[in-house]
Symmetry: C2
Subunit: 152 residues, 2 copies
């Protein structure tokens, strides 16, 4: 199945905010109001962030952050969010978003991409692994890598 996939532009911030708000609602996470999120993305899209939108709704999105690498002259990228609305799942839209994400990150100068994933997110983990991501050091042969975090 072909999916309409495009890089978000400044006039897409309301669609981005709506999808992210639905994302939080679905998973019972507290969420800023959609208008606050839209304003924030007006800034982020002009700074270190790009968003890929998929489907005609749009029905899904991926949010990527970029920053300079310490170890190379290029950029490193981080997949901050990936979301597809419930009634569009299982149709390859997440995979189509990820292909676009990888191409766009590369085109913008990134040489690596990282993702934080909760252990029980098997569908996401299978998708990322099928795209060449690994949670093992040294390209799949080493031990696993954890995310540690705390509030400040």
């Amino acid at each position: 199945m072909r999916h309409a996939i495009r890089i978000a532009e400044m006039n897409d911030v309301d669609a981005i905010a709506r999808l992210l708000h639905s994302f939080n609602e679905e998973f019972g996470e507290p969420s800023p109001p959609a208008d606050i999120l839209a304003d924030r993305f007006k800034d982020l899209l002009q700074a270190d962030t790009f968003v890929v939108l998929g489907g005609n709704g749009p029905d899904g999105l991926a949010v990527v952050r970029l920053r300079r690498s310490i170890w190379t002259s290029g950029l490193e990228s981080y997949l901050a969010e990936l979301y597809v609305v419930p009634n569009r799942r299982g149709q390859g839209l997440g995979r189509a978003l990820m292909h676009a994400v990888l191409n766009e990150a590369l085109a913008r100068g990134a040489t690596t991409m990282e993702i934080g994933v909760d252990a029980p997110d098997y569908a996401a983990r299978r998708l990322y692994e099928s795209l060449g991501f690994t949670n093992h050091v040294d390209g799949a042969i080493g031990p696993v890598m954890y995310v540690y975090e705390r509030e400040l």
Copy 2:
């Protein structure tokens, strides 16, 4: 034991580069030459990065990246590197660096900190856990969180 701890300034880039170069050498990782790293930190320290130095050598450092949060009006922080030279380990220098890191990140507006840690880095994991970090979702009661990565 008290440790000399301070936030790196622009004229510390050579010390930063030397420590990071030793770090890579010790762990058999490829490393850019020290002069390239020093130049890179001239840029990073003016952009999204701060470094904490510890000991008189200095003998250790912590490198922290900051960026705007998607979900709050504050910043999120990421501990990119933590290193203490071999002959100064076991004296609390890593812990002193981490206390300074947490204070400085908070002072700069960060509301969260993340760290990627390889599973067998038990000393580091114990240190982070003793400082309130967790690799479990929802503050230690949920499943673990993995880092996935790939080259682009």
